[in-house]
Subunit: 395 residues, 2 copies
């Protein structure tokens, strides 16, 4: 089977980006990725656009981007996996190369959520479950979904509001060093505790923002990668799983089952021991759409035992120097969460970390040369876990 | 590389299907495909949902379908390539198996366009190009786009309105034998000529309808396919290309460039000579969203020389018994065009034709054991061309 490497990365400034249109936003990331890899549009065999859509008035975002970025007439498609859209786009390009049908593929993740007024943007997020039954009939919204998990875990495991606050504080801390982050401002526990409650116990500072942004990576087959770069970052494996649409059909509210299953799949292919998984990685990007989601991610990825995720946060074990540095680019919380871009942004962050190209103040020590990205769509409706390495997987 | 076969097919009744919801509609096709292949949901490694979306109030259609069809927690994603969405879904599953990451994959194409009121449905179709510039500023709509091609070809090649009528008459003729077709009614030339003009020269009878429907295929690796069926239909190759968003950036209005390029790519991989391509195939499904699109497809696939596509129609060469039977399931024109389902429906029709399981009155003679599907998104914004065969491609 063909090994696949990341050979170029690009990232736009995340934030309120109504200064540009969708295709201009995508181009900021595409241009950077082309320059970094020293490639030209004509070298790209295909491109995939991760764009959940609905916020922009352009329904054919892949095509509009293809024309503007001069990627037409290359083959393309747009993919959606809710908030895991970017990882789904990565998957398609990865498999096209693995299957031998492309040598070089461009993955573009982009979302411009401020194209819609905020109430529309928020209603659309709320629909990211079972619209008809749980949203329309019971009025459950997105913060409400995650609040169910947070209250259950507070009752069962003794997790405190302050534990959630630790996640917000850490991610805002690292976001302050990331020039691409939407929020580059550190926060303190008292600010966190005083912030407005959205859905108890989740407060404004527990939630990621509505964001515009783009990220891009260029993938290449081993044969090509070796010719064009001396610093490939390999995709070792990816696991992907789904969950029921209705949360009422879930067994409990203490973990994101789909994410745990996706991690198990990725670990199995990469021969990683679940219990000791954190020993394999130098850095992790996890899906902190709400702070509670990051705490569950620790457990779903095997970084902490079930019920002990919040202790990792309490002890500061996910800062640089701790057990495993997590979301040291600011995470969704501070960097922002432009839906379609997030999964691709995670791949960009991991790649740059492994190559010692991270922003000042955020660089981890690279010992094992491996990183992991955990990207969840909806409330565990989709989950994608991807493992990256400086070492070729088939070596 | 792993060879990939279709081992099961399913198809819902196409039409106004507000008698069911989106997931129930999908299930009609999924159930049939599982039964035909003698497989159970637990056997499926992953599923891909082709659903352009926007008409239904459920944004996470793949997840809602996954829960209802009991496919969760298998990995999934939703893909969109405008009217070629179904073929994009097929591509993702095909490549996952080819890449060795799945053994059995389910492809579901579904759209329930009547969930939105007709003016909304039609506006959304109109946006399938460059919304901001050509739709919003110039008022171009979907029939208008294709009318540009029709008038240009009438002026340049002497094509008559009656030539377009021949396509409508043929496709309605075959649709009358297809119990799954939205329209099962034959039409005559005088009815065609009297039908209301939508965008000259295109009339109501030149246009495919707004349709609800679902189709599904199950793909398997060679190893698995051989165990579960004695009648696999192999995917030989697929070409996919894109076009500019703005029609004002196209060179001319006589052919769908992306489709021709996609055909060339598919033919190259399958070692098919473009000039004589029609000699290789027993049956073709082409994208007749408007009658003019079918005529251009004849040329873009090499069935007729450039400028002579309408002569094939005039001479009745695309009926069963002619040069090459095209759209003998009724095509988009009579069978209907539920956006996300269409490409998958094409794969179902070709598979059943090659296996002598077509509807009475529509079965072609199978001599070479090969078929081709041509699926276009927008006005050549996307194009996917797929080749199917009774013979294993690597044999």
């Amino acid at each position: 089977m063909v090994d696949v490497a990341i050979v170029g990365t690009g990232h736009s400034k995340f934030g309120n980006r109504t200064d540009v249109n969708l295709q201009e936003l995508a181009w900021e990331a595409v241009k950077q990725a082309l320059e970094e890899s020293n490639l030209d549009q004509k070298d790209i065999d295909m491109f995939v656009v991760g764009n959940a859509g609905g916020w922009s008035s352009e329904p054919l975002s892949a095509i509009v981007i293809g024309e503007y970025c001069n990627l037409a007439p290359k083959g393309t498609m747009r993919v959606e996996a809710a908030c895991a859209t970017g990882s789904a786009a990565l998957r398609i390009a990865y498999q096209a190369i693995k299957a031998g049908d492309a040598k070089i593929a461009m993955v573009i993740g982009v979302e411009q959520m401020h194209q819609s007024p905020n109430p529309v943007a928020i209603e659309m997020m709320g629909r990211a479950g079972n619209y008809f039954w749980e949203f329309e009939n019971f009025g459950l919204t997105f913060p409400g979904y995650y609040a169910l998990y947070a209250t259950r875990r507070m009752a069962k495991f003794g997790m405190k509001e302050e534990d959630l606050g630790q996640i917000a504080i850490k991610n805002h801390y690292y976001g302050s060093f990331n020039p691409y982050a939407m929020f580059q401002k550190q926060i303190k526990m008292d600010e966190y505790m005083k912030s407005r409650v959205v859905a108890y116990p989740l407060k404004v500072y527990d939630a990621c923002p509505i964001t515009d942004g783009a990220a891009a990576v260029i993938l290449a087959s081993e044969e090509v990668a070796k010719k064009i770069t001396d610093s490939p970052v390999w995709i070792v494996s990816q696991g992907f799983k789904s969950g029921t649409a209705n949360l009422s059909k879930r067994d409990d509210f203490i973990s994101i089952d789909a994410a745990r299953l996706a991690a198990e799949e990725a670990y199995k292919k990469a021969r990683i021991d679940f219990e000791n998984s954190w020993r394999y990685f130098d850095v992790a990007e996890v899906h902190d759409c709400f702070t509670i989601a990051e705490i569950m991610a620790y457990e779903d990825l095997g970084f902490a035992k079930r019920g002990e995720g919040h202790l990792l946060a309490r002890e500061g074990q996910t800062y640089i120097g701790g057990r495993i540095p997590v979301n040291v680019d600011g995470g969704l919380k501070a960097k922002g969460h432009p839906i379609g871009a997030t999964g691709v942004s995670m791949a960009v962050s991991i790649t740059r970390q492994l190559l010692y190209r991270a922003h000042k103040g955020t660089q981890v020590d690279v010992k094992n040369g491996m990183g992991i990205a955990h990207n969840v769509g909806g409330t565990g409706h989709y989950a994608y876990v991807t493992i990256f390495s400086l070492k070729k997987p088939s070596a």
